[in-house]
């Protein structure tokens, strides 16, 4: 919800952009975050099915998450024995559906995070009291 300051500060090369768009990771992250949060950039899939919106590649797998108590957000997660430090929380949303049907009931809070250059959707399942990876966007 900022003023896109990182994007505005980006040094473009009108004569021809190099293969590396960003000189460093530090320069890339704020721009990616601003792009992901921007009102004018969104995926076509968002327009189709609201409940699945933004999930990208679907993948559901248990995941271990380290919780940052102070900031009340996930700090790190471990997937397939690899550890991912969370650089930024892009977005948070909640899913609460089918409460009347024990077999289909879903109660989750989802954090879309940036880590190691990818976007991951980490969901805390309130019914099972465990973390799940529910989406990956490269």
């Amino acid at each position: 919800m900022g003023q896109n300051s990182a994007i505005r500060r980006y040094q473009s090369h009108p004569g021809g952009q190099g293969m590396d768009l960003f000189a460093s990771k530090d320069g890339r992250l704020p721009i990616v975050v601003e792009l992901l949060k921007s009102p004018w950039l969104f995926k076509g899939s968002d327009l189709l099915e609201e409940h699945d919106a933004g999930i990208g590649k679907k993948r559901e797998a248990p995941v271990a998450v380290a919780w940052d108590e102070r900031r009340a957000r996930p700090a790190e997660f471990t997937l397939d024995a690899r550890s991912y430090r969370i650089d930024e929380v892009v977005q948070v949303w909640a899913v609460e559906r089918f409460w009347w049907d024990p077999r289909r009931r879903i109660s989750r809070r989802v954090w879309r995070v940036l880590a190691k250059g990818g976007t991951y959707d980490l969901a805390y399942d309130r019914l099972l009291c465990r973390w799940m990876l529910v989406g990956i966007q490269d």
Binding site: M1, G2, K37, S38, P39, W40, F42, D46, L47, E50, H51, A53, G54, Q91, V92, W93, A94, V95, E96, R97, F98, W99, W100
Partner: protein, 1109 residues
Amino acid sequence: MTESFVHLHTHSRFSFGDGACDLDDLLARTCELGMSVCALTDHQGLYGAIRFYQKALSAGLTPIIGAEVAVESAAHAAFGEPVSFTPFRTGSGRAAGSGWHLTLLARDLTGYRNLCRLLSRMHVRSGDAPSIAGIEDLKALSEGIIALSGCRNGEAATAIRSGQTARARDALTVLASCFAPGDFYVELVHDLTPHAPRVINTLVSLADSLGLPIAATNNVHYVRREDARVHDVLSSAGARMRLPGPYDRPNSELWFKPAREMRELFAGLERACDETVRIAKRCELDLELGSFHFPGATLPAGETAYSVLSKLAWKGAERRYRPMTPEVLRRLEYELSVIGRLGFPEYFLVVNEIVEFAKGEGIRCSGRGSAGDSIVTYCLGITDADPIAHELLFERFLNPERRQMPDIDVDFDSARRDEVIDFIYRRFGDEHVAMVATVNTMTARSAVRTVARAFGHPPAGIDALSRYLPWVAASRIREALAEYPECRDHPLRNAEHSLLLDVVEQLDGCPMHLGTHLGGFIITREPIDTWMPLQWAAKGVVVSQYDKDDIEALGLVKMDILGLRMHSAISETLELARARTGPEGVPEPFELTPDDPAVYAKIARADTVGMFQLESSGQRNLSRRLAPTRFEDIIAQISLFRPGPLEAEMITPFIRRRHGIEPVEVPHPGMEEPLRDSYGVIVYQEQVLLVARAVAGFDLAEADSLRRAMTRGRSRAEMDSIRAHFIERACERGVGIETAEEVFRQLEGFAAYGFNKAHAACFAVVSYASAWLKTYYPAEFATAIMNNQPMGFYTPRHVVEDARAHGVEILPVHVNESLADYTVERDGRAMRVGFRDVRDMTQRLRDTIVAERSKRPFRDLADFLRRTRAESPATSALIRVGAFDGLGITAQDRTPTRDELIALLPELKAVLARDGVAGDDVLCLAPVPARPVEDPTHPSGWSSARRLSAELEVLGLSLTCHPLSLARQDLERREVVYARDLPLMPDGSKVRVCGVRERAQTPRTRSGRRTCFLTLEDATGLLDVVVFEDVLARVGDVIVKHRCYLVEGTLQNNSERGLAVIARSVEAYRIRTDGGQDVRLRHGVPSGPMGSSIGGAGAPEEDSWTIAS
């Protein structure tokens, strides 16, 4: 204000299907969260606004009143952009509309009035125009209104979600132009969905670029997160869908969040939260509750309302009182001065205008309630009980110490009530009159059906889950299932329905939809839509969105134009009797001196079926014990069998003292005179005033304030203060402190339970009239009662049985004799059943039969079908109840049996359909195979059991005989005692009785125990059975699921408690004739859950009823 956030967009249950906030819960939560302001913005209306406003003020909160309205597409209206989406349909019933959401808040009284006008303009359009606001409407009526651009279903938010940012900009531009600068805000809702941040960011960008302020809301639909499921169920029910319902919301985040959470959600956009506080500060609506607003009365030039009222009252006094006594003069002068001082003359004149119109048109009417305490209303002819003769006190009606809106209720002839309503609309104008609304709320039964439907149960499953449920509040469903015997095998007891029951409990008292009050009209001086929103009711009249309490709170005049079927029955009895005896043959019963011993003897015999207010089984029981002999006794009888006097155990001492069983004693001699008529028992509210005056020297206004202060709900401290004041005043007059304390104890005990004597006196006039007509014109009276059903305490079947017991011959329905209504025949000795109660009969067919028969009688079934084109179901019903008995001829040279007619019916219909005519001799030419004749002695060929079953099913009546008459031998073998013999048996006798059900009631008892009062009927009359809790626990399911019972128990037959059977066991009884044929009771005899109202007889005083609320 220390707020950091104010919820400006909140839906309560008055959003009817899209909101689950209970108002009390919402306001309690507001306080709990430390907020001091809360807004209410229900869909398409202000249904809950007034009660919300009052409750909020009582809780020390600042209320903001608003609504979320559906608006036409701003972008389309202004720029002609195509309508690419159809918005959700919001609102309920005739106020629903498909439009883009816009949140409107009333900034001040001007804004409130404009909001009312806007909503009324949306809803009350001609034809089927949609209930949405036009852009031009918004422009015209935006003064004083603050608007928020709407939730995710607002036009801008929807456009952004669909990628049409330009359209969103256009919509915001147009909407903003409708309101004063600074009064339109871009609404931001972060509902924790994946889209929310993107939509918010775009809206903020657009707002910034357009120079519009932003405001954050949470579009609150429920108070706590866990209440979301109630909301889902309500929205599913509103749309008649199964879950997830029409909105299919992805989460449960639309709850009343604390300010801290709201600010966290809008981190980086704190100004959106700050703005909510600023908006709240700008909203300063004062509805000026407590002032009165009367419609204009017609006043001649140079006159005031007071002068006109005075002249009318004095003129009326000359007519009512001959000679006019000094007491009348003093009283009338005093009342007029009080009415003038309080500013109420116009109200009296308006009521008088309406009553005068009715009387001028010959429409029977009578005032009721505390208005009967006034000599002014009596002189104007609004009420008919003399307040001087009956010691009725004006202060009970209008207390000069308290300026409260007077309430004059008038009952009109139900059949002609529409004429009165037409007059009101003509006289005051359509723009100044509307009907009062009612809000229908959920009980356990309706809540179960609502939740089961949302859970996707099939219709048969929903019926199974709600069948046999008692009439209890939804919050008590688990208790009822666990404890009520009729629920012993109920499917809801299965563990699988636990979640369903959880939701049902939460739906307790939830508003379901807006209804129309039976007779309440609001009349205003200014156009009524400046006071309240209006809409079409389902029945096609314009109705306010407010109920009677809201109207009263606003200080507006509400007139109850109530239809009283007894008035219609009395008028019709007179008409029928005068048709037989001549116009002068029957006097006007309201003008009779109420002193006819034959009438009182009839009441004392409990022969009161059909009599107004005296017919219930409880009243019949009281009739025997009281044995009334004068008009005051009828007033006492009406007053005593009420929840208050019953709870205060007034009946037993009253009866004992009346019959000299115990002495009349009062603690202070000053009480003797006020309590003379009630033998020292405080029965009437008016007596509380008189006693306070006599003992403590209170004037009547002070005494009425004391009475009101003594009503229930007072804290101990408040009551102690009242007591100290009373005793001090009494002691100042030389009353001993012990005596003063005893008098106060009695007043305290009875003040809350006493009945308004004026109300009883007004009713007693009608009661006596009905009793007099029943005494002297039984056939006409019974006929009129049948023609004005539904009315009274008993089933139509019992009314007919009662007429028969009084020697009135009951003639069956017949195509060549009956009219649509019941008629009197044989010089007042017989009643002919009309077509109105025959199942499947249409109005067309009834009219056609009568019209054709006036040419010549029907010769046979073929002739009937050819001339009337009657539908098969109705014809079949007529055949089954013997309406063709004796008509036609068969090849065997006899009249056809009912079976032959039924078999022939399809053939005749086919011939008619093919050829257009059917020969008169079809029966001879085409005999049909039919069942063998059961009873050759009867022209129908049917046995009496079959005839009776058909009558019960088709007419709901038992014309052939009483159902139990057919089981006489079996009953005698079982040594069953008949109702007529019970009064002759000694108290304490062991008896076995049998009867079909008339009523079954389980009113709440003071002890909390559940007792069923069962009114049964056997072939000789009515009998009352009391089933106490221990027995009810065993037999409750039998009572609910069956229609006829065999009861064993102990006879109670004494003057203190009257006549009743105290049940020891209740079994279902299957009526079977001596020949082994079953009698089916369906339709004619009720079954199902036990009711909750009072009316049962035989209750011991210590287990008397509390007020059924």
